[in-house]
């Protein structure tokens, strides 16, 4: 169970990235399958060549932002549909990742990594490592919360919330989308670099289906905690990521075949998406479908206005 918690906390970094695009920008970004592996590949090749793991992780973050930049440019300047732009980058990254690693995988056994570093500080692989990881992820969450409340962050939020409106206040929504995609994929690649160190290798196929893990984390977490404020929403994402790993762990303990993992993940996401529609989770989440809420009061007004005296004088 300790390893499930650790894994969940590592995945939480990626889930925060997915939250940025999926929830804040309202953009389903599939780049993450590729950029996650890019992060892992970058960190692995750098670490095996003697770079300090911390520096390697920073490099991984920037490789991720580059991937996000490409998807962003394809979508905004190239006017390619968001889903397709993400898929194009993801597929292209497969080859790029092979190039980065010079092969299909790189073992990190015996190398100095984040986790060997933690062990060096006397942090055991038990509740201690879980606590340390939680603190690290929580600090990252706080930084993200802070950013989303700056002038720039609010403009980013507004871009996903009401694009037309924020343009009328002088914000280039193209630039905001690119920024959001860069940050998101940076976080995803950072997560990939941490995961490579955690499992002791980087592998070309490690990112396949990752977007589902991210979506599951975001949806499950927010179905439980709601999204009333950014502070709560990002916390929900972290809890969702950990919960997801715990559920998978329990499923495996119960004797399910590890080969069925992806199927279970997909089923979990479908379940999380369908349950609110049937009203079961509605009581749990205070506000998960904000768009539906927001349009209703105005719509009532608009309907009520139909037979007004104004109509009589309309030319």
């Amino acid at each position: 169970m300790i390893s499930a918690l650790e894994l969940g906390l590592v995945y939480a970094v990626m889930a925060l990235g997915v939250y940025l695009t999926f929830r804040i920008l309202n953009f389903p970004d599939l780049t993450v399958d590729g950029s996650y592996t890019s992060g892992a590949a970058t960190a692995a090749i750098l670490i095996t060549n003697g770079t300090h793991w911390a520096l390697a992780m920073v490099a991984a973050f920037f490789v991720g932002t580059a991937a996000g930049l490409i998807t962003g440019l394809l979508h905004t300047k190239g006017k390619i549909d968001g889903l397709l732009a993400g898929i194009l980058t993801m597929i292209a990254l497969y080859s790029v990742n092979l190039r980065i690693m010079g092969g299909a995988n790189i073992p990190l056994l015996g190398q100095d990594t984040l986790f060997s570093g933690l062990a060096g500080f006397g942090v055991g692989r038990n509740w201690q490592s879980v606590a340390v990881l939680f603190v690290l992820v929580f600090v990252l969450k706080l930084v993200l919360d802070w950013f989303l409340h700056t002038d720039m962050g609010l403009a980013l939020q507004a871009t996903g919330d009401n694009e037309e409106m924020i343009r009328s206040y002088g914000v280039s929504t193209d630039r905001m989308k690119i920024l959001g995609l860069m940050l998101s994929n940076g976080l995803v690649a950072l997560c990939g670099s941490a995961m490579a160190q955690y499992q002791g290798f980087s592998d070309i196929s490690m990112g396949i289906g990752l977007i589902l893990v991210g979506l599951a984390s975001v949806i499950v977490g927010q179905a439980i905690f709601g999204t009333r404020t950014v502070f709560i929403a990002t916390f929900a994402v972290i809890v969702g990521a950990v919960l997801y790993r715990v559920i998978i762990q329990l499923a495996l303990n119960a004797g399910l075949n590890p080969n069925d993992m992806k199927l279970i993940s997909a089923a979990l996401v479908v379940l999380a998406l369908l349950l609110p529609q049937f009203g079961i989770a509605k009581r749990l989440s205070i506000r998960s479908r904000a768009t539906a809420d927001s349009s209703s009061p105005a719509a009532v007004d608009a309907e009520a206005d139909a037979p007004t005296p104004q109509e009589a004088t309309r030319a």
């Binding site: 700056t150 609010l154 403009a155 009328s168 002088g170 105005a298 309309r314």
Partner: protein, 263 residues
């Protein structure tokens, strides 16, 4: 302050659906002018507003704001001078952000958006003070998400947001049409108040002839992509909605006559 010269716009050119939305529009607004725009559906009222805001690029002609030619400038770049309120009350605010966050977004119009806190203590005081002028009690609900407000409240907030960051030009596109009569009256009153206070150069599209005569110092009537009638302050003063309708019928009749003559 606002200069539109010989602006034409054709939608779907060279197709069966070709529609000439604007046919050589000329319009000049001095600083502080408040012009109301009336006309039938498809007359080109909204197209004029969208051309000024930069949502549409005219086929010919030019648009300049405060002496600066903005014809080719992207909409979000000229937004630093141009405030807009849309017909749809949900269009002018971000529903999932709070009232104070929406105010912060509006507050940074024309400024670089950096990493300063969007809602600082001093800004909060400023927002509260501005919201007080609406007399809707929104100043006590700063952390309420805007999506929870009624249409009238959202439209009043949109109007405040569009104006309090000091645009040079205010564009109102039937911004009271989707509200019930009492809310429409409130928003109209607020509009007059805020335009007078900031001496805003304003262009207001409306379907309501009484409203068009009641507010503003000038009135233009559009039909089929052209300005067919212009009234200045004095000419406008004595007119009633009936007069306008009669005027409209006369000109529309003339158009019909032209057509019959061609056949």
């Amino acid at each position: 302050m606002l200069e539109i010269r010989d602006v034409s716009k054709t939608f779907f050119p060279n197709t069966v659906n070709e529609r000439k939305a604007l046919r050589g529009i000329d319009l000049h607004l001095d600083e502080g002018d408040f012009v109301t725009v009336i006309g039938s559906n498809g007359a080109g009222k909204s197209t004029v507003l969208n051309t000024i805001a930069g949502k549409l690029t005219p086929d010919t002609g030019s648009v300049s704001v405060a002496g600066k030619d903005v014809t080719k400038m992207a909409d979000h770049r000229r937004a630093q001078w141009i405030g807009r309120v849309f017909q749809d009350p949900t269009a002018g605010t971000a529903p999932n952000l709070t009232i104070q966050e929406n105010m912060a977004l509006a507050f940074r119009r024309g400024h670089v958006r950096g990493l300063a806190a969007g809602v600082s203590k001093s800004r909060k005081d400023l927002f509260r003070e501005a919201l007080t002028t609406l007399e809707l009690g929104l100043e006590n609900r700063l952390t309420t998400k805007v999506g929870l407000l009624s249409g009238g409240q959202r439209q009043a907030l949109s109007l405040l947001m569009a104006t309090f960051s000091g645009p040079k030009i205010l564009l109102l596109d039937e911004h009271t049409a989707a509200l019930d009569p009492s809310r429409a009256e409130l928003v109209t009153r607020l509009t007059e108040q805020v335009v007078a206070e900031h001496r805003l150069t304003t262009l207001m599209v409306t379907h309501n002839m009484d409203q068009a005569l009641q507010v503003g110092n000038r009135l233009i009537m559009m039909h089929d992509g052209e300005i067919i009638l212009e009234l200045d302050e004095q000419e406008k003063a004595g007119k009633t909605a009936q007069d306008l309708l009669a005027e409209f019928g006369k000109i529309k009749g003339a158009v019909v006559d032209d057509k019959t003559m061609l056949q």
